[in-house]
C-alpha cells in the first residue's frame, strides 16, 4: 500500500535522529531532508506524468486522420481538465481513505473508500502539523496521484477516436476518474482487499492504471462499433494516421513521462536504498521501452518485409507498460526482455483486434490492456513476494469490475444521448461536423 510503504524507514529517521550518526560510517539525511526528498520526488514525478497528457494528445492527433484532429485534441485537453477536478472532488479520498473505508476495513479488506474532496495541508505547515511528517507533503502526493488518474482517461480517448461524440465521451471520463479508477485503485494502493488479502503486487500500475484504461476503452469500442468502412466484406481497410511526426513526438513524450510514472512510484527518495531503487527503476524503465521498440522493429521487418513505424512506437509504449508492474526487481537484462515481450504482444495484438472487428484507432488496447496483463504476470519472474494467484485473481477482479461497469455506463450513455456521431458527420470528419473547426485548414487533403 502506497502510503505505508516508506513509513518504517523514515519513522526511524524521524524518531531516532540522534542514533543516525552511529550507523556504519555514514549519516542519515535529517528527517526534514527525508520529507523534502520524498515530496520532491512526487513533484518531479508528478510533472513528468503530467507531460504524458501531452504525449497522448500528440500520439493520438498523429494517428487519427486529419479530419478528426481538432476533435482529438479537444478531447485530450478536456479530459485532463475534467479528470483533475473529478479526482480532487471525489477520486482522491475514494482512493486513499487512510483506513476510513465506507465499506470494509484495513484488516478485513477495504472495498469502498471515503467520500469528500481532497484537502491539502495548511500554508507553511510545520513539522508537527504535517499530515505525515515521516513521509511527504499531502500536496505533493495529491499532485502525483492525480496525474495517474488522468492517464487512465487518456488511454480511452485513443481507442474511441474518429466516431464518438465529444460530450458522452467527457461524461464517461468524469465517471471513470471520479469513481471507477479510484475505487479499484483503492483496492491495491489505498490498502484495500487486493493489497491486504491477495498480496497483489503492481508497483506503478500495469493493472491499476493501464489495464483499467484498456478495459474501459474495450467496453466503449464494443458499444461504439468500428469506424465506417474499417471492415468491409471481411477485409480490414487501413486508415492511415495523418501525421507520424506528431505520433513519434507523442511516444517520446510518453517515454520521458514514464520515468516519473515508475520512478515516482518508489514513493521515497530520502535514503540510500530508496534513491538507488529509483535509479534502478529509471534504468529498467528505459531499457524495457528500448526492448519493446526493438522487438517491434525486428518483428515487422521479418513478418512484413518492411518496418512499420507505428508498430515500433506502439512497441516502445508496450515495453513501458510491461515493466510498470515491477520496474524495480528485474535486472537490466530481464527488464529488456520483459519489455521486448510487450513489443511482440503489440505486433500480434493489433491485427488480432482487427480480426475481432474491434476498432482501436491508436492501438491502446494492445498497448495498455494486453501488455498490462503481461506486465502484471511478469512480476512473478523477478519478485519472490509475488504469487501466481495473487497476481492473476486481481487482474481478473479488476478487469471484470472495470469492464462491466464501463459497459453499463456506455450502454446507458448510448441509450440516453447516443454516443456515436451520424454517418455523414463521421464521413466528413468530426472537426467540421461537430466542431466546425479544422486542425489544418490551409493544407489540402486527399
Amino acid at each position: 500500500m502506497k502510503l505505508m510503504k516508506t513509513l518504517p524507514l523514515t519513522a526511524t529517521a524521524a524518531l531516532l535522529p540522534t542514533l543516525a550518526v552511529a550507523q556504519d560510517a555514514g549519516v542519515d539525511a535529517s528527517s526534514d531532508s527525508i520529507f523534502i526528498f520524498n515530496s520532491l520526488l512526487f513533484l518531479i514525478g508528478g510533472f513528468l506524468v503530467f507531460w504524458m497528457a501531452a504525449g497522448f494528445a500528440m500520439l493520438e492527433a498523429g494517428l487519427v486522420r486529419s479530419k478528426n484532429v481538432t476533435m482529438q485534441l479537444t478531447k485530450n485537453i478536456s479530459l485532463f481538465s475534467l479528470a483533475a477536478v473529478a479526482y480532487y472532488l471525489i477520486g482522491y479520498n475514494l482512493m486513499y481513505p487512510l483506513g476510513n473505508w465506507s465499506i470494509g476495513a484495513d484488516e478485513t479488506g477495504g472495498y469502498l473508500g471515503a467520500f469528500g474532496p481532497a484537502l491539502l495541508e495548511a500554508v507553511g505547515v510545520g513539522r508537527d502539523a504535517a499530515d505525515d511528517y515521516g513521509y511527504a507533503s499531502t500536496g505533493s502526493d495529491f499532485f502525483f496521484q492525480l496525474m495517474f488518474c488522468a492517464t487512465t482517461a487518456s488511454i480511452v480517448s485513443g481507442t474511441l477516436a474518429e466516431r464518438i461524440k465529444l460530450w458522452p465521451f467527457l461524461i464517461f471520463v468524469i465517471i471513470l476518474t471520479a469513481f471507477i479508477y479510484p475505487i479499484q485503485a483503492s483496492w491495491k494502493w489505498g490498502g484495500g482487499f487486493l493489497d491486504s488479502q491477495f498480496g497483489f503486487l503492481d508497483f506503478a500500475g500495469s493493472t491499476v492504471v493501464h489495464s483499467v484504461g484498456g478495459w474501459a476503452a474495450l467496453a466503449g469500442a464494443i458499444i461504439l462499433g468500428a469506424r465506417k468502412g474499417k471492415y468491409v466484406d471481411g477485409k480490414v481497410v487501413p486508415m492511415m494516421g495523418s501525421n507520424l511526426a506528431l505520433a513519434t513526438l507523442g511516444t517520446f513524450i510518453l517515454w520521458l513521462g514514464w520515468f516519473g510514472f515508475n520512478g515516482g512510484s518508489q514513493l521515497a527518495m530520502g535514503t540510500v536504498g530508496d534513491v538507488a531503487d529509483v535509479s534502478r527503476i529509471f534504468a529498467n524503465t528505459n531499457t524495457a521501452a528500448a526492448g519493446g521498440a526493438i522487438a517491434a522493429l525486428i518483428l515487422t521487418q521479418v513478418m512484413y518485409g518492411k518496418v512499420d513505424l507505428t508498430m515500433v512506437l506502439n512497441g516502445a509504449l508496450a515495453g513501458l507498460v510491461s515493466i510498470t508492474a515491477e520496474p524495480l526487481t528485474p535486472s537490466l537484462g530481464a527488464a529488456t526482455l520483459i519489455g521486448a515481450v510487450g513489443g511482440v504482444i503489440v505486433v500480434f495484438g493489433v491485427p488480432f483486434l482487427d480480426k475481432l472487428k474491434i476498432d482501436d484507432v491508436v492501438g491502446a488496447i494492445p498497448v495498455h490492456l494486453f501488455a498490462g496483463i503481461w506486465g502484471t504476470l511478469a512480476v512473478l519472474l523477478t519478485n519472490g513476494d509475488a504469487t501466481f494467484m495473487g497476481q492473476l485473481l486481481p487482474i481478473i477482479i479488476v478487469g471484470v469490475f472495470v469492464f462491466v461497469v464501463s459497459l453499463v455506463i456506455w450502454v446507458i450513455l448510448n441509450g440516453v444521448m447516443g454516443i456515436r456521431v451520424d454517418e455523414e458527420a463521421e464521413v466528413n470528419g468530426l472537426d467540421t461536423s461537430e466542431l466546425g473547426m479544422e486542425a489544418y485548414p490551409e493544407f489540402s487533403k486527399g
Binding site: E424, V427, G436, M437, S444, K445, G446
Partner: protein, 112 residues
C-alpha cells in the same frame, strides 16, 4: 476522345473509381479542389467571429475516354456519386484532340 471532368464528394472517390474500373476505364487524374456551389454558404464561428464557409472540399476527376465510352462513363459516375444531397457535384464533357502515352508512344484511343 472525350475529357470528362467531374467534381464529386471526396468520400465517394473510391466507390466511383471501382465502378469505372469495372467499366474498363484504365486511368484518371484526381485532384483535391475547393468547390463553390449551391452547397456553399453555411456559417461557422471562430474565436467568437461568425463567417460564411464558401468553399467545400471536393474531388475532381479528369478522365479521357474514347467517344464510344463517354456517355457510359458519365452515367456511371452520376449513378455512383449520387447521394441526393446538395453538393453531389457536376460532370462536364469536353472534346479531346489527341492523346499520347509517354512510355510507349501509342496515340489516341490506344493511349488510354
Amino acid at each position: 476522345m472525350k475529357l470528362i471532368i467531374a467534381a464529386i464528394k471526396p468520400f465517394k472517390l473510391e466507390e466511383v473509381r471501382e465502378a469505372l474500373t469495372g467499366l474498363g476505364v484504365r486511368g484518371m487524374m484526381v485532384t483535391e479542389i475547393k468547390g463553390f456551389g449551391s452547397q456553399s454558404g453555411h456559417t461557422e464561428i471562430y474565436r467568437g467571429a461568425e463567417y460564411a464557409v464558401n468553399f467545400v472540399p471536393k474531388v475532381k476527376l479528369e478522365i479521357v475516354v474514347a467517344d464510344a465510352m463517354a456517355e457510359q462513363v458519365v452515367e456511371t459516375i452520376a449513378k455512383t456519386a449520387k447521394t441526393d444531397k446538395i453538393g453531389d457535384g457536376k460532370i462536364f464533357t469536353l472534346d479531346v484532340d489527341s492523346a499520347l502515352r509517354v512510355r510507349t508512344g501509342e496515340t489516341n484511343d490506344d493511349a488510354l
